[in-house]
Subunit: 442 residues, 2 copies
């Protein structure tokens, strides 16, 4: 196979090795003890939101579905596990036939979540379900962290477009997933070509300071750029003197100049000055793009400034202070024997130092008040109360091993905007606070 897609000369030929070793040793021990086939329910949830955050955003669901489909143990992988002495032969034989044949339910991608929300539920035999823990958590923890930051930034930006530009600040493939998550959270475009290629997200980008510095004069650089990218391009105006560069930009491109980009300095002050200058030069339709170390607070602080678009990098891809979610994957119920019809029994680790879990296979619903605004996240076991039946959150994602919930990325993005709009207004305050909905257990 071509392994260049990982930037690695050696292949990692499926998603099956994105797995902590203990999943496989548990499998081996369960096969030996005769309990591997006990019907089991694992749930993904978080005990808390990052400090001060009002809501979480489920992202990565679509990537989880891809990962589950591609979770296979081929000869190369089995050879590695054998050679390292990690597993015995019966376990390796079992893995050779592995594919997930169970059911996965989950909050659909883009939905919001709260502490205790069962954002994903994996049901199958213990053996088939335990193996998926690491890869599911990797995807959901990373992607949801970026989407949550993106959502806050998109609230702060209002109607102004947001460009994702963080590829250089995170792992090269995390960057692709981050661009995807940013889009789900409300961003509009990305600088990352791989994300454009893979997820069809619109890509943007024109030039950096290096391009101006390559040329003998700023005029040469601007002329070269306008010649090839057209007058609608975005010229970067802060390599030397901003005022001189703006003057030159309009002289070279004319008032049809698409935009100027400011990447340093006091953006509030500079944006006002540049707007005034552009207007005086007749470039009244030329937009102003700002891109310097922005986060949701910096974006909000520019709300009254004449800024037309924001480019966000570091703070987006690192989750704006919270680069991972604390989602866990816990066994919450399992059958009392390996008989497929044996009853499920709720199980949970005992609390010690706050790591408590609630046992039992759960449903979840978001209860609206009389105005249709969400007032509580309700999580329970057993029958769903009739008044909550129409407000349930979990949908089938995989049924009998078959993915049943593929959707375009825009569907997740639209769902997120709608879900956020259904929360109390205080959800979109940037200031620190408690989760905007209480979680009620039934």
């Amino acid at each position: 196979m071509n392994t260049a897609d990982l930037g690695l000369p050696v292949a990692v030929p499926s998603t099956a090795l994105f797995t902590d070793q203990y999943e496989l040793t548990m499998l081996q021990a369960a096969l030996r003890s005769g309990n591997a086939d006990r019907r089991s329910v694992f749930e993904v949830f978080t005990r808390r939101l990052p400090e001060g955050r009002r809501y979480g955003v489920v992202a990565g669901t679509g990537r989880v579905l891809d990962a589950v489909e591609n979770f296979r143990f081929d000869g190369t992988i089995l050879g590695f596990l054998r050679e390292r002495g990690i597993l015995d032969e019966p376990t390796l034989e079992w893995l050779a036939d592995y594919r997930f044949r169970g059911d996965i339910w989950g909050y659909p991608e883009g939905e919001v979540y709260f502490p205790g929300s069962p954002v994903m539920r994996v049901e199958g035999t213990f053996a088939e379900a335990v193996l998926l823990e690491t890869v599911i958590l990797s995807i959901l923890n990373h992607d949801s962290a970026v989407a949550a930051a993106a959502s806050r930034m998109s609230v702060a930006a209002g109607d102004r477009p947001l460009m994702e530009m963080g590829a250089r600040r995170t792992h090269e493939l995390a960057a692709v997933a981050a661009a995807r998550s940013a889009y789900v959270g409300g961003f509009h475009t990305t600088s990352d070509l791989a994300a454009g290629f893979r997820y069809n997200i619109p890509t943007v980008g024109t030039s950096a300071h290096a391009f101006t510095l390559l040329h003998d004069t700023e005029r040469d650089a601007f002329t070269a750029q306008v010649d090839t990218l057209g007058r609608g391009t975005t010229l970067l105006v802060d390599t030397f003197d901003v005022t001189e560069a703006v003057r030159l930009a309009v002289e070279v491109a004319g008032p049809e100049l698409g935009a100027v980009r400011i990447d340093s300095g006091d953006l509030l002050l500079v944006a006002h000055r540049v707007r005034q200058q552009l207007d005086e030069l007749g470039a009244v339709n030329t937009k102003i793009v700002v891109t310097s170390d922005l986060d949701e607070y910096a974006i909000a602080s520019l709300a009254a400034a004449p800024v037309d678009a924001y480019g966000v990098g570091t703070q987006l891809v690192t989750g704006s202070g919270h680069p991972t979610c604390s989602m866990v994957y816990k066994l919450v119920a399992r059958a009392t024997s390996d008989d497929p019809d044996a009853p499920l029994r709720p199980v949970a680790k005992k609390s010690l130092g706050g790591k408590s879990s609630v046992g039992g296979r759960k449903w979840a619903a978001r209860r609206p008040d009389e105005n249709g605004v969400a007032e509580a996240e309700v999580v329970g076991t057993g029958e769903v109360p009739a008044e909550l039946a129409d407000h349930q959150l979990l949908v089938p994602l995989v049924t009998g091993g078959k993915v049943v919930a593929r959707e375009p990325l825009d569907a997740a993005r639209d769902r997120h905007i709608a879900a956020r709009a259904g929360l109390p207004l205080s959800a979109t305050q940037l200031s620190r606070g408690e989760p905007v909905l209480p979680t009620e257990y039934r």
Copy 2:
């Protein structure tokens, strides 16, 4: 090709798309302006360390070499760029033949660095060198952030082994790179099977709470695990009651039990109690492994506790508060014409809001004091002073497009331990402070 290694049904068939769009539009404009072939020098450096950190750790160098080798534009990629209208035909033709034919120098992997250290220098035509910006920064910024956290943890752990267990808290492929970086920074093993497969890092792992909960009793679970993994295994003892579990563990496995793992609670207190209990039960050689939300400070706080090994997850893979470095890739010099013999001219963006650069192609050396302890990071342009000639830091990595510096990962790990040992003692204080070496410019 088999695309399952990305968990993606569609291929990203080389590293060439791990690139911000503006690199390609700059290329197109430079080709049009006739300046694409100007000999150019780009340098990777950081203006500051994360707040309070005493030193940085270069990691990812080996991955950069892989990425540069695999940076090719095949028909699929060119078709994407054409279809999206991102580039014109002459530029697409130019890219079809692209491979990097220039030179790369850098601090060898595992070396420490300081603000202003030119950790990598890429030399070639503007066209060939500008394209590598994003993928080089992605790798170095991510990997070095993890390695810096790992290094601090390894200082705190002293001689006790460190296990990397963070895969579930970061993107599934970032996790593989994180395990690699952790190893460079001083970790010993990883739970991540893909990292074991790809980088030959020793892997570890035995069981989680789910395994105990699957069984009807804790005794059944321990018995099953010991039956298949042997008495040398590590039993997880905090699912229900730790004291009862430790008693049961030694009863089931005998005093030959390899280790017990504690994953919750007050680790200091619990470790002391468990050690006393194990000793009273005659299991004097049974080790104690702790794994609950550790960072370098928590590890240090357990220095006097009877703990034999640490497993670290979240805080490692998220860089212990600093998930990315702030490395940038700047054009520092370029020829005055496209004549290959034209002289190089230093270039730099003017300072505005702290984003200043120092122009010129740089060398770097670490000056020792009379005792051989490093006392300054010296960075300069022009001739290297004779007294620093033997202390230079940059080594050739790629020469004329050919990778010349492949090495086993252990070499980078050993280099890091040695480089850290050559710093003043205060380098390894965990408390916040200034960079332990000043950077002097010549």
